[in-house]
Structure formats: structure tokens, C-alpha cells
């Protein structure tokens, strides 16, 4: 069992999720 796995996953999901959300925001603004 990997120690502190929840913290690692949380950090990566937040960062890459944030990047994906910003990408979607850019695409929407570009389309409007």
C-alpha cells in the first residue's frame, strides 16, 4: 500500500483538473 496515496492523488487531480478546466474556459471564450 502506497503511503499518503490520497494526498498524492488529490494534488495531481487538482492540478490537472484545474488545467483542464482552464482549457475548457479558453475554448468557450474563443467560441463566444
Amino acid at each position: 500500500m502506497i503511503e499518503n496515496l490520497g494526498f498524492i492523488v488529490a494534488a495531481y487531480v487538482l492540478v490537472w483538473g484545474g488545467i483542464a478546466a482552464y482549457l475548457i474556459s479558453l475554448r468557450r471564450r474563443r467560441g463566444s
Partner: protein, 233 residues
């Protein structure tokens, strides 16, 4: 009348390739960070957050330095292209700063035992974040393009002073935050070669993401400028 240049930034041909390259390198970097890189002898696996935390911090520094250069460009030339570059880089920099603060906080909990502490590095970083959020808010206070760009540029020139303060705060003051691991004076990076390579690839990946976002955001801003009365594309 303020004029913009007609083709001021990489357009249709470059942007999709840049985005694709950024996505591929991000996948490779994530694989290396989570699977390939060895476990740290002291911190265990949670240290792997370094591969997102540190590149995001460096790219935030770069983004805000670009704001500084672009702000000088606007003040010296009054070319709206520089204003578009400044606001685009500031927005991406704020995003990256917010994310590296959150990633750092998640890393702090299992290693320091707290989500946040009033440490010099953390406080100066929070100030940097708020200054550039303020920069973006300042831009909404005026509808006059030139006035808005000039006010923002003055702040963009002043705010850059916080970047060296953030980086050197761990050397100037007693800090819970670790000392610089890679960008440090008088020595080579204090990092295992495999870890160093993984960090290098992660920096490349986030750099490509930064430039891909910058290109997209600039295209939007230049499009807005063309629609603003008094700014002719």
C-alpha cells in the same frame, strides 16, 4: 488611435501542435513522476508532489516576469500587443500560482502536519498571488483601453519585485519550507539523477502548457482588442 500589428503571435498553424506537444509531454511527465521516479528515502511517495509543485512555481515566476517585460513594452511603445501579452501571461500565472499553493498545501499536511503556516515563503507567495489577482481586477476598473493598459502596466512593473523575494525568502529568514533544491547558489542540484530527470521533463511539460495557454489566451485578447473602439487591428 492605437494600432495592433496584424499577425503578432503564432496563429492557427502553431497553436494545435503546441497543445498536442503539451498534452503528450504532460502524459510522459505524469508517468515518470508517479511510476518511474524512485521513492524518496525520507518522505516516501508523497514527495512526488514536487513534480507538479516546483514546475508550477517556476512557470509562475516566468509568467510574472513576462508580465513585467510586456508592461515595459506597453509603457515604452503603446503597442496593444504588449498589453495582450501582459494580461494573458498574468492570467496563466495566477492560475499556476493558485495551483502550486494548493499542491503545496496538500504536500504540507503529511510532511509538516499542517495545511498552512505563516512561514516567510508561504506568506510572500500569498502576497504574490494577491498582487496579480489585484492586477487582473484593476483592469476591470476602467473601460478606457489606454488608461486601463497603462495602470495595469505600472502595477505589472512594480509587482515583479516580489518574485526574488519569494525565491530568496527561505534564505533570508528562518523558514519551515525547505531551501532551494535546484536553483541554488554555489552548488549543483541536491537531487538524485533520476529524480532530477523527472523534474526536468515535468518542467518541459508545464512550460509547453504555459506557452499553449498563452497563445490561446492571446488570440482571445487580440480578438477583443479588434472589437474595442479606438484599437484598430
Amino acid at each position: 488611435m492605437i494600432e495592433t500589428t496584424t499577425a503578432p503571435f503564432p496563429t492557427i498553424r502553431v497553436r494545435p501542435w503546441l497543445g498536442l506537444l503539451a498534452a503528450v509531454s504532460a502524459l510522459i511527465a505524469t508517468f515518470m513522476a508517479l511510476i518511474w521516479a524512485p521513492t524518496d528515502a525520507v518522505q516516501g511517495d508523497v514527495y512526488r508532489i514536487i513534480y507538479i509543485h516546483v514546475p508550477l512555481a517556476w512557470l509562475a515566476y516566468l509568467a510574472f516576469f513576462v508580465v513585467f517585460v510586456a508592461s515595459l513594452g506597453w509603457l515604452l511603445t503603446k503597442n496593444p500587443w504588449f498589453d495582450a501579452l501582459a494580461v494573458s501571461s498574468a492570467e496563466v500565472g495566477v492560475l499556476f500560482t493558485g495551483m502550486f499553493i494548493v499542491a503545496g498545501s496538500i504536500w504540507a499536511k503529511p510532511t509538516w502536519g499542517v495545511w498552512w503556516t505563516w512561514d516567510p515563503r508561504l506568506v510572500t507567495t500569498a502576497i504574490m498571488f494577491m498582487m496579480y489577482v489585484g492586477y487582473l481586477l484593476l483592469r476591470s476598473l476602467s473601460t478606457d483601453f489606454a488608461r486601463r493598459a497603462t495602470r495595469a502596466a505600472v502595477l505589472g512593473v512594480i509587482a515583479v519585485i516580489d518574485i526574488p523575494i519569494v525565491h530568496l525568502s527561505v534564505l533570508w529568514m528562518n523558514s519551515l519550507h525547505q531551501l532551494p533544491t535546484v536553483l541554488r547558489a554555489g552548488g549543483s542540484p541536491s537531487l538524485d539523477a533520476t529524480m532530477g530527470m523527472t523534474l526536468g521533463i515535468s518542467v518541459v511539460a508545464f512550460t509547453l502548457v504555459y506557452f499553449a495557454f498563452l497563445a490561446e489566451r492571446m488570440a482571445i485578447e487580440l480578438g477583443r482588442q479588434r472589437g474595442v473602439q479606438g484599437v484598430r487591428a
